[in-house]
Every structure is written in C-alpha cells, then in structure tokens.
C-alpha cells in the first residue's frame, strides 16, 4: 500500500483543491440560502470569470492574483445587475421563475463565450505555476497554497460582513423571515441583488485562483459547479460552514480516491461519500431539520 508520506501529501493536496471547490460552493449556497433558488448561471459565470482572468493576463499582463481585486468588484456589480434588472423583474414575484431565468442566463452566457472565443481550450503561463514548497516528505504547489489562503481570507471577510454590517444582518434576516424584513424597512430586491452579487464575486475570485494552473473554455465552469452543487447538498443547503467544510472534505475525498482508484476515477469517491452522507443525514452535514 501507500506510505504515510504519500497519504499525507494526498490529503494536503486534497485540502488545497477543496478550498477552491469550497469557494465556488460558497457562492452557490449563499444565493440558495437567501433567494431559495439554485443559481443555474453559476457555472457559466465561472467560465466568464475565467475568460476575464485569462484576458486580463493575456492582453494587459495583469497577474491573476492582482486581477482578483478588480474582477471581484466587477463581477459583484454584474451579479447585482443581473438579479436587480433581469432575474428579479423577469420572475414577477414568483421565486420558481427566478430559477428558470438563471438557466436562461446560463445558456446566453455560455453561447456568447462560444461565439466570441470558440471552443478552444486556453491556458496562461505564469512563472510561479510550477513552483512548490518542500515540506521534506512532500511538495506543495505554490498556486494551490495561495488559493487556500485566499479562500480562508474570503470566508473570513464574508463572515465579518454577515456578522457585523447592517447589510450582512439584513441578508440573514431576509433569508429566514422575508415579510418581517420588509416591514423592518429592508429593501428585499436590493438584498437579493447584493446576495447574488456576493455569490458572483466568489466565482470571480475562484476563477483568479484557478487560472494559473487550470485552463479555460466556454463550458469549463460546469464541471466545477456540478461538484459545487454536490458540496452544497452535502454540507446542507444554504449553510456557509457546510459549504466550506463540505468543500474541503470533497477535495480530500477526490484526492484520496484518485490515489486508490486511479486519477480518472477520482470523482467517483465524491459521489459515493455524497450518497452515504445523505443516507445518514438527509439534510446534509450542517442542514437544518426539515
């Protein structure tokens, strides 16, 4: 079998990959928790953000990690505008319609990307892409370490916003008691849009963390969002700690099953764990009781 050093290395790598999964899942679970819809446009927005990070580097030489500081606010604004001016008005007050509108947006974004950039897969070439840190028994890739740290910072920032700002408190209030929130003077349409914007900003940051070692094409986001959706259900729909811990667990499970079953079967482990957890806890790890 494998030596402990290899196992530990696999676990570490899994945690590092899982952090980016967690970030994508965080955006998805946030929107679900407040708007009570699955955002079908999440994957397409991730593809769009990967293209944005790609061109920021390719055209302007902007390092992806710096681009995150531009793309996060830009995608926040996009997400805000989508919800406020497209999804909200088009749903005519019925939450189920919002779901369909996000599906429509996904189709439009994906095909616009396909039209503009064709189906080619592209990568960028940054000097630190293959740098690693030697821990003695294993090497950790620098881009993944940066990703892990960045996700930790984003999660902390998000927690601070939710716990301490009026907007964050309003988001939590709308999530659980919409009528009460409206009567307290909270503009629900605005809060929905802010939440959608935060979810979209998470995707933009994830894209900047991925692009140094990953690739982009018009449908690349979908693979991530399938995993992210699994994480959201695994962690408990709408639960932020659930998304974070679920993301890390998923990364480790994928890494370990890749080790034992071979790289191409790595994702089987994710879905096995997914089914097992749901058998024992139908509402997910951190889900509220129905």
């Amino acid at each position: 079998m494998f030596t402990p050093a290899i196992l530990i290395a696999a676990i570490f790598n899994g945690l590092l990959t899982g952090a980016v999964y967690a970030l994508v899942a965080l955006g998805l679970t946030l929107v679900y928790g407040v708007l009570h819809i699955i955002n079908f446009a999440h994957g397409a927005l991730l593809s769009a953000a990967l293209f944005a990070a790609f061109f920021a580097f390719h055209q302007f030489g902007l390092d992806p990690y710096l681009a995150a500081f531009l793309l996060a606010p830009a995608f926040f604004a996009c997400g805000y505008a989508f919800q406020r001016f497209v999804i909200g008005p088009a749903s005519h007050g019925d939450d189920r319609n919002m779901l369909l509108v996000t599906l429509g947006i996904a189709i439009v974004i994906e095909n616009a990307l396909l039209y503009a950039f064709h189906a080619d897969t592209r990568t960028i070439d940054v000097p630190y892409a293959f740098q690693s840190i030697d821990l003695g028994f294993t090497f950790l890739a620098v881009p993944r370490l940066v990703g892990f740290g960045a996700v930790f910072v984003v999660a902390l920032l998000l927690w601070l916003i939710m716990a301490w700002t009026d907007t964050g408190k309003a988001i939590r209030a709308v999530a659980k008691e919409r009528l009460g929130a409206e009567l307290a003077g909270i503009d629900v349409a605005h809060i929905y849009a802010v939440t959608f914007g935060l979810g979209t900003a998470c995707v933009a940051i994830a894209a900047c963390l991925l692009i140094p070692t990953y690739y982009v094409n018009p449908s690349v986001g979908n693979a991530f969002v399938l995993i992210a959706f699994t994480i959201v259900v695994l962690g408990g729909m709408g639960s932020v700690p659930g998304a974070l811990i679920g993301g890390l667990v998923t990364g480790v499970v994928e890494s370990l099953s890749g080790l034992f079953l071979g790289d191409s079967l790595g994702q089987i482990g994710i879905f096995l764990i997914f089914i097992l957890v749901l058998l024992v806890r139908p509402n997910g790890l951190f889900g509220a009781k129905a």
Partner: protein
C-alpha cells in the same frame, strides 16, 4: 380633520387575485391618537395593514401619510417615512440574537440613534435585556411579541400599527401589553391598534372603527362604541 391627520385613507380597495377584500375604506389617525380597528377573523384587518405598509397594493383609493401619498410606495420607503407595522405573528428573525433583531429595526430610520434607542427599549423590556444575546427563536411567545414591538420602536415611528399584538398571550401578559401601548402613546406616538380583543382595546383607544366584510360599519369615540351592547353583539360576536 383631514388636513391635520397623520394618516388619511380614502376609498381604499385592495385584495388578492379575484377576491376584493377591502371594499372602500376611509380611516384617519391624528397625531397622538390611539385608534382601534376591531373586527373578527377574516374581515380584512390584515389586508388593511398590509395595504398601509405597501405589502399589498391598493387597487383604488388613496393613502396619505404625513401629508404625502404613499399608496404606490414600496414597504421600505414607507418605513423610511415613519409608518411602522408590527405584524401579526411577530415575524421576528429567529436565527438572530435579540440585539440583532432590534438593530435591524433601525436599518432604515433612526440609525444614528441606534444605541440610545436600544438602551431605552431594554429599560422598557428588562426581559429582552436579559436575553439580548439569545437567538430570538428561543424566546417565549410573550417575549417574542415584546421583541417585535421593540423592533418597531427602534425606528422612532410617527405612527405604529400593532397587528393583533395580544394574540396568543396569557391574560396577565395582555394586561401588561395594553399598559405598555398606553405608555408608548403617552410619549406622543400615534398608535393604530388592530385587534380582536375588543374590551381592552376600547379601554385604551380614543376612537375605534368596526370592520365587517371589508367595510367599516361603524366608527366613533371608543367610549360610545363600548357603551353600545347591540353593536358589540352584532359585529364583534360578544
């Protein structure tokens, strides 16, 4: 009295889908008054409240608050004007602490005086102070009602609408609640009390309206209505 009225509703019609619940309502509340809207279940009291706070759109008629037409404004804008609706069923934020619930009461209005207002509400409701760090969902029914009213007061209302505040409270708590309403009013705040609890509402109200099947069938000084047994029997089931 219409020019001096704080709230002036004329010919209000509202409903849901095909059903028209309110069939032409005229109602005024003057500054400093306690006005009671009484009626049994299902006559349109909640719809009236929801129309005033912008949750349900008026189909016809006008709602003037503090001199401005508000019937087309969204709920947050109406709150910003100082018309605060404490809803039936409390509608507090169960996942958040008592303090956080109060803070959100001043999300739109009186934000700068939040800390001072919170202290004042804690001194009015010592129970809320004791439980300030507790999740609101864990409070008892009476405490939740106090919290809902406290959250409303955080916005420094010009007019506070209390929708069935005594619902589900023990007689002792109801007694306390009505004393509190009188006290709030004593500080100069206008109160619109929408209740099924006729006897106690008429005791503290200046004027009252009797709502039956979407229309006011009677209005006048609370004392006159309280003195008319036939009226109470006919419309309030007493």
């Amino acid at each position: 009295m219409s020019t001096s009225a704080l709230l002036d509703i004329r010919g209000l019609r509202a409903g849901y889908g095909e059903t028209e619940v309110l069939q032409g309502i005229d109602l005024t509340v003057s500054p400093g008054e306690i006005v009671a809207v009484l009626g049994s279940n299902g006559v349109g009291k909640s719809t009236l409240n929801r129309a005033m706070s912008g949750i349900v759109r008026a189909r016809a008629g006008t709602i003037q608050f503090d001199g401005d037409a508000v019937e087309n404004e969204k709920p947050s804008a109406i709150v910003a004007r100082g018309l605060i609706h404490v809803p039936e069923g409390r509608r507090i934020f169960p996942n958040m602490t008592v303090s956080e619930n109060l803070d959100l009461g001043s999300y739109r209005r009186a934000t700068a005086r939040r800390a001072a207002n919170r202290d004042r509400i804690f001194s009015t409701f010592p129970r809320l102070f004791e439980r300030r760090s507790q999740r609101a969902g864990t409070l008892s029914g009476g405490e939740q009602q106090m919290l809902a009213i406290g959250r409303g007061l955080m916005a420094e209302p010009k007019l506070i609408i209390l929708d069935e505040p005594s619902l589900g409270l023990s007689p002792l708590l109801v007694e306390e609640l009505f004393a509190l309403i009188a006290r709030i009013n004593g500080e100069g705040m206008a109160v619109l009390l929408v209740e099924q609890n006729v006897v106690q509402s008429l005791e503290i109200a200046n004027r009252a309206y009797i709502l039956a099947d979407g229309k006011f069938v009677m209005s006048g000084a609370a004392a006159d209505i309280a003195a008319d047994p036939a009226l109470k029997r006919a419309y309030l089931g007493m």
